[in-house]
């Protein structure tokens, strides 16, 4: 494509409707890939309720670093909202939410494992006890 450089004297007379429209479109485009101006309320709420759910499931008892990360990121997201850095805030909130959900899922799995281990242990001790009894009998 051949580019024709602008001349200063030409620029002064360029106030045609077409160029104005282009400029507006350009501005729009620029702002559209910048931070949205409104705080990511929905994402923040989702992160908060995911953290609450994880806390209620006593995830902390199972020493989950993910829950700590979720809390830190939610706090950082709120700071970003105060600084009107909404894009950063939204991403931090989204990450906080998945962190909390992972913490809960991991803790569920750990608890399930604990129950199964307990069951296996009691079966084993029953078997052992029986072997002792059988031994005593014979």
């Amino acid at each position: 494509m051949k580019l024709t450089p602008f001349k200063p004297n030409a620029t002064a007379t360029l106030a045609t409707p077409l160029l104005i429209a282009t400029a507006i479109a350009a501005l729009f485009t620029l702002t559209s890939c910048m931070s949205p101006p409104v705080p990511p309320t929905q994402e923040l709420q989702a992160a908060e309720s995911a953290i609450n759910a994880a806390e209620q499931a006593r995830v902390a008892d199972y020493a989950s670093p993910e829950l700590g990360e979720a809390r830190d990121k939610l706090a950082a997201a709120r700071t970003a909202v105060e600084q009107e850095n909404m894009m950063v805030a939204q991403r931090l909130a989204e990450q906080s939410r998945v962190d909390a959900e992972l913490a809960a899922a991991k803790s569920d799995a750990a608890k399930a494992q604990e129950v199964n281990d307990e069951m296996m242990k009691s079966t084993d001790s029953l078997k052992q006890e029986m072997q002792r009894n059988t031994g005593a009998q014979q």
């Binding site: 045609t16 077409l18 899922a105 199964n116």
Partner: protein, 274 residues
């Protein structure tokens, strides 16, 4: 000139717009880490134990990974999507794991019930054997008691040794007494938890004092005999009751004969059968 300027303006506008549109994009590439997330997901999906156990979470992870795999001009956005995808795969994996563990519980609980049942059966068998042994012991005891000619009374098991054991007015045992007393001694040696009280009794002939001392000496004679048969002395108490505790009238010869006696009371008999 005017038309030319117009077309120049038009061209410039298009170029500016294009430049501005691509301003926040660099060359689009697949974000770093997306491949790893995909591999992790594939591993989960190909695990026969886990793949079917968290369908919703796996579907969720699948679309997150697909989003992360899209070439991004914005590197930070790409990293963000990869982070979300990676976490969602892990969530799906943990959920599938939980589900698998829950599903395993049925068989674990069956195993435990099986072990419990086995142990109960064994316990019952042992108890049956114990009962049988106890019954046997009880039968032995009953037979021995019958042989000893014992009577169950409130004071315990009472064995009455008639006056035929002793010569009149004497406290030495006659030889014929030994058969009966040997049975008692062997009973006491078998049942070490039993103690006995030996009581001497007389009829009303003679003075009270001499009757008490005669009955005491006769009771002592029985105690001595039992001690010679290895029954511990601390398990035997011998007392002379004299004529004060008759079981029949002293007015007739047969009544007096019944009153002249030694009673052996086996205590503790009622407390247990062992």
């Amino acid at each position: 000139m005017k038309t030319h300027r117009h077309s120049t303006t038009k061209q410039a506008a298009v170029v500016i717009a294009t430049v501005l549109l691509t301003a926040c994009m660099t060359s689009p590439t697949k974000p770093e880490g997306a491949t790893e997330a995909r591999n992790k997901l594939m591993q989960l999906q190909s695990d026969p134990q886990l793949a079917t156990r968290a369908p919703v979470a796996i579907k969720d992870a699948e679309s997150a990974v697909r989003a992360a795999e899209q070439p991004q001009k914005d590197v930070a956005l790409g990293q963000h999507l990869v982070y979300l995808a990676d976490r969602k795969v892990e969530i799906a994996s943990a959920q599938a794991q939980s589900r698998l563990l829950q599903d395993q519980r049925k068989s674990l609980s069956e195993q435990r019930e099986g072990a419990r049942l086995d142990s109960r059966t064994l316990e019952a068998d042992n108890a049956k054997l114990d009962t049988k042994a106890a019954q046997q012991q009880n039968e032995d005891l009953q037979r021995q008691i019958v042989e000893l000619n014992a009577k169950t009374t409130e004071r315990g098991l009472v064995i009455t040794l008639g006056d035929l054991l002793f010569a009149t007015g004497k406290s030495e045992l006659r030889g014929s007494a030994s058969t009966h007393l040997d049975k008692l001694a062997s009973f006491l040696n078998q049942h070490k938890d039993r103690t006995v009280v030996i009581e001497g009794h007389t009829d009303s002939v003679g003075s009270d004092g001499s009757n008490v001392s005669l009955s005491q000496r006769r009771a002592d004679a029985v105690k001595t005999y039992l001690m010679h048969q290895s029954v511990e002395s601390n398990r035997i108490e011998a007392t002379g009751k004299g004529e004060g505790d008759p079981v029949a009238t002293n007015d007739s010869a047969s009544g007096r004969q019944q009153n002249r006696r030694v009673e052996v009371i086996i205590v503790n008999m009622a407390t247990s059968s062992r």
